[in-house]
């Protein structure tokens, strides 16, 4: 963000713009970039999702639009969805029906602000960045509840109730899995956490000790549940709930849900990259350009893994879902937390 404001200052000439205005301009630009990243990842990942699904099911997936392997398919989809009729059900709660997608979207957009893509390239280098990300993403739950209730439809309501219960539950192992990393890094700042992992693959927190590796796995699984994807996609099971909480949405409003879902998918992968997989650090010596690309590459790999899991595994039942969270993941995460602490005391020398 400092770099962006500095850039604006250079363009306009020193001293011509007040610092207040620069601040606003910088913030606006960063917000715009983040929104664009979100839109871009929705576009890229819908295509990737369909292609991967195709490969897993021994078929091609979209092939026609845009000549090479249907590369322009998402753009066509987007154009189509923008032209669709905007339907608000007669018995829906209008105010909240309209508000819900925005709450959901803002929740995921806000969280993006604290992701460090490269040294210095972070919208808000907050001291408690990790906490802030969790705080922002709790808005998503409210958005889901709002949309489900406002639709005035039993499938939507069920979907929303399931979704909220699931997210609220899985937030706990998610947060607990990250705590050992905070213990190691001694900071909640995302940049600090990434910087603490530089200098070789063994510095990555996922590989620092066995407990942290388990923590990473817990984080990864819980994050799949956080974004409501198979095998944890109970809120939108098409065979029982039509499409869950966004059943009644159409056109542009539906696009917001769609956007938020893929943005969240990418977001949790970015967090995993930053927190567990060394951020922009990489093991290849001498390769020193474009740290943001390294970061994005890792995150995209994680997204692909999630897509792969989605098209491979069957769905859990509700009670199994809760069982896994409360009786397996949370105790395990606590054990990892304690284990990491002991490991630190035993093997890590404090400066």
């Amino acid at each position: 963000m400092e770099q962006v404001t500095a850039l604006f200052a250079r363009i306009a000439g020193a001293g011509t713009l007040s610092p207040q205005l620069l601040l606003w301009l910088g913030a606006l630009t960063m917000a715009l970039i983040m929104a664009l990243v979100m839109a871009a990842c929705a576009i890229v990942f819908t295509w990737a999702e369909r292609k991967v699904a195709g490969f897993i099911q021994s078929r091609y997936g979209p092939m026609r639009v845009g000549r090479w392997h249907g590369i322009a398919q998402p753009i066509a989809d987007m154009l189509k969805i923008l032209q669709k009729e905007d339907i608000i059900p007669a018995d829906a709660d209008r105010k909240f029906f309209i508000l819900a997608p925005f709450v959901l979207f803002i929740g995921s957009l806000m969280a993006w602000a604290a992701i460090p893509f490269a040294p210095g390239f972070v919208a808000a280098d907050l001291d408690m960045g990790l906490l802030y990300i969790f705080a922002a993403s709790s808005l998503v739950t409210i958005g889901i509840l709002m949309s489900g209730w406002a639709s005035n439809n039993k499938w939507s309501l069920y979907g929303a109730a399931r979704g909220a219960a699931q997210i609220v539950s899985y937030e706990i192992p998610l947060a607990l899995a990250v705590v050992p990393v905070v213990l190691y890094a001694g900071s909640l700042n995302m940049t600090d956490i990434v910087v603490a992992q530089q200098g070789g693959i063994w510095k990555w927190f996922a590989l620092r000790n066995p407990f942290l590796f388990v923590s990473f796995l817990i984080y990864f699984l819980a994050s799949i549940a956080e974004v409501n994807r198979t095998p944890f996609d109970l809120p939108e099971t098409e065979s029982e709930l039509v499409a869950g909480y966004h059943t009644e949405y159409s056109g542009m409003r539906f696009a917001f849900f769609f956007l938020a879902e893929y943005a969240n998918l990418f977001l949790v992968s970015c967090i995993a990259t930053a927190v567990f997989l060394g951020g922009w650090g990489h093991p290849v010596p001498g390769l020193n350009f474009a740290p943001a690309l390294v970061f994005l590459a890792k995150a995209v790999l994680l997204v692909l893994a999630q897509i792969w899991i989605r098209w491979t595994l069957p769905r859990l039942r509700v009670d199994q879902l809760m069982h896994v969270c409360w009786k397996v993941m949370i105790p395990l995460a606590l054990v990892c937390l304690a284990g990491s602490g002991v490991w630190m005391l035993a093997f890590v020398r404090f400066a």
């Binding site: 018995d91 709660d93 909240f96 969790f134 709790s138 219960a165 609220v168 909640l188």
Partner: protein, 183 residues
């Protein structure tokens, strides 16, 4: 300047949505408006350089408490067109009492020389908070965990089987127990 603007923005958000919470006839609307109230309060915390408190406010109150409130409220059946008029017999005394209380607090707040501290710089607070939790304030910190443990036992007792079943309509809400323990 922009600080003032942000303050009045957050304050307006908090107060207006709080009014909506109180006066809305629809209990679910009231619940959702609470989102904005709590969010506004978090914003005010952030403006007071209490960044950790702001984030915690959002995580605990919006991510935990509010979700539980909405969960329960959504499971109730509400008439779509408001729940009938409230009688003047309740509205007037409550309103008078609220106004009197407001007048009292207004006089206290505006007419008092407060023990003001110099404005603190917006330093990050998290590390210092953590350090004091484990040194100076370790006793209250552990004490709170006992309170939460008691709350957890309470939640477990409340959801325990009840044989001569009173009506069990809302009892099955799938809310996981012990949400209030997250802090």
């Amino acid at each position: 300047m922009s600080g003032d603007l942000a303050f009045y923005g957050f304050a307006a958000l908090t107060v207006l949505s709080a009014f909506y919470v109180v006066f809305s006839r629809n209990i679910v609307h009231a619940g959702f408006s609470l989102l904005f109230t709590l969010f506004g309060v978090a914003g005010l915390y952030a403006m007071l350089a209490a960044d950790f408190l702001a984030a915690t406010q959002v995580i605990v109150y919006i991510g935990g408490v509010l979700v539980l409130i909405l969960f329960t409220v959504m499971m109730t059946r509400i008439p779509r067109r408001g729940a009938g008029g409230r009688g003047l017999d309740r509205f007037v005394p409550a309103g008078v009492f609220a106004l009197l209380l407001f007048a009292l607090l207004y006089k206290v707040i505006t007419g008092t020389p407060w023990a003001e501290k110099a404005p603190v710089s917006a330093d990050p607070t998290t590390a210092r908070l953590g350090a004091s939790f484990l040194t100076d304030f370790v006793f209250p910190f552990e004490f709170v965990s006992l309170i939460l443990l008691a709350a957890m036992i309470g939640a477990a007792i409340l959801i325990r089987d009840r044989r001569p079943a009173a009506d069990d309509g809302a009892g099955g809400a799938a809310a996981p127990t012990g949400e209030e323990e997250r802090s």
